[in-house]
Amino acid sequence: MNTIRPEQEYFAHLAEGRFMLQRSRASGKCFFHPRVAEPVTGARDLEWVQASGSGTVYATTVVRAKSPAVPANVVLVDLDEGPRVMSRVEGINPDAVRIGMRVQARIGQQDGRPILLFDVAADTGSQV
């Protein structure tokens, strides 16, 4: 079995425009953050699969750092595949982000590195 380098592989995929999740072939369940083994079972039969990028806002805050920093949103998003990720919803005011909002992943750039971001989903309905 090939050596898994979780962080390197995740960001290499992201740099090439792919938001990937790991899953165990046996359980078929995705998890995040990337690891060398599936949590709980320790299974090492891992594969990378492309995430749908669809998710629902689970929790949200607006970080109000001291000026000149502008208020910025930080969310936890429950992906449709199951795992939860930290990110930022862009394209609306930071304090307009609501729990239950449907969001869609996009890969952006920040400080010369790829970053996972979310936009409000086009077909937005609210779920909890």
């Binding site: 953050h33 949200t60 805050t61 607006v62 970080v63 930080v74 936890l76 939860r84 930290m86 930022r88």
Partner: protein
């Protein structure tokens, strides 16, 4: 899992002290921890060399067990430097009880100190965000607790006024404590107008950033009766964890205190409704609500209503955080040991103006990381053995 066993009532706190509360310019974290320790040892007439079980964890020194031993020139049989964040000191008490019962040590000292306010002006933390989270610049730990608060509000309809009750109660207790750092009156109006730090958490939902140190001495129950007028017996102690970073917390509205609390209460043979005084690690106002629920003082989702009407404030039905807590008394980076000191002082009848009458049973509960590590102690006087 094997049956959860604990040597109920076999060890006791015989001394509990604080030092340098608020601001202590010019002293290092270790200077403060040593000064608090000497105060505690003085209470029971012990020399540093008699400490043979040392439990410590400073924010700025990974080898603090060794540093402390060198500082006082002692050679403990047991040196423990477990780090589970601010809950570490309650896990130290659990291990001290087991070590005393097993004969691994006779005099256990648990110590903490930090000069973070006068040395850096900010929280000194050993936590580093993972690469998957750092780019979003969540202010930590406050942002993590803000995410939890947002979820709790969404799920249970919590109002800001109910969080305000927690802040106001802490301040009213602090006004009865001469050692508390912030004692100016706090009104609900002022609470509601406070500057937002990380929505929905304002500066009045956040603990203080202070200097301060604390220490407790634990010995066997047999020895405790000879050393102290009113020893504080350890009736139950348990710890639990379910994540490190907030993203991996299974449910942001329920902490692992559900498990640490249930186990500590089962070991002690008492239940939440028996408890006279409660000391919870209130890094943020939401903590108090989550831990009241998770430890079984009220049902999940009912914490906001539970604290209304001054129920946890001086004169209320359930005294909570009687020193003023991390919110208004002291918060030198890791607050856990201060919950134990205050619980012990209450049960020893030494809490002055804030003394809870006839206090016989207390809970001290520590939290570490981002609601990550939970540790619960049930403490009682001789009458509860």
């Amino acid at each position: 899992m094997s049956r959860d066993k604990f040597p109920r009532g076999k060890s006791a706190i015989v001394a509990a002290a604080t030092y340098g509360m608020g601001e202590s310019p010019g002293q290092s974290s270790m200077d403060l921890a040593v000064s608090a320790s000497l105060r505690a040892l003085d209470q029971v007439g012990l020399q540093p060399a008699e400490v043979d079980g040392l439990f410590i964890g400073l924010p700025d020194d990974y080898l603090s067990g060794l540093t402390f031993a060198e500082y006082l020139g002692i050679q403990p049989r047991l040196t423990e430097n477990n780090r589970t964040g601010g809950s570490a000191f309650l896990t130290h008490a659990m291990w001290a009880a087991l070590a005393i019962e097993a004969g691994q040590c006779d005099v256990a000292l648990i110590a903490y100190g930090s000069n973070q306010r006068t040395s850096s002006g900010g929280l000194v933390s050993a936590m580093r965000p993972p690469a998957y989270e750092a780019p979003y610049k969540l202010g930590r730990p406050v942002g993590a607790y803000a995410l939890a608060t947002s979820r709790y509000m969404h799920q249970y309809g919590l109002k800001r006024e109910q969080l305000g009750e927690v802040a106001l109660a802490a301040r009213r207790w602090a006004q009865l404590n001469p050692d508390a750092f912030v004692r100016a009156p706090l009104t609900m109006e002022a609470y509601l107008q406070a500057r937002m730090v990380s929505d929905p958490i304002s500066v009045r939902d956040c603990c203080l950033v202070t200097d301060g140190a604390a220490a407790v001495v634990m010995v066997s129950a047999g020895r405790a009766k000879q050393m102290a007028k009113r020893p504080v017996y350890l009736l139950g102690a348990a710890a639990a964890t379910d994540h490190r970073d907030i993203t991996s917390m299974p449910d942001l509205t329920t902490t692992a205190a559900v498990h640490s609390g249930a186990r500590a209460f089962a070991q002690s043979g008492v239940k939440p409704s028996d408890i006279d005084v409660v000391e919870l690690y209130d890094a943020f106002t939401i903590n108090t609500l989550l831990f009241l629920e998770d430890l079984g003082f009220c049902k999940k989702g009912e914490g906001g209503a539970f604290v209304e009407g001054g129920r946890i404030a001086p004169g209320g039905a359930l005294p909570v955080n009687t020193n003023g807590g991390g919110l208004s008394c002291v918060h030198p980076g890791m607050y856990g040991l201060f919950t134990m000191v205050e619980a012990a002082q209450q049960l020893m009848g030494q809490a002055g103006e804030r003394q809870v009458k006839d206090a016989r049973l207390a809970v001290a509960h520590g939290n570490g990381g981002e609601l990550s590590s939970q540790a619960t102690l049930v403490l009682g006087t001789e009458e509860t053995l």
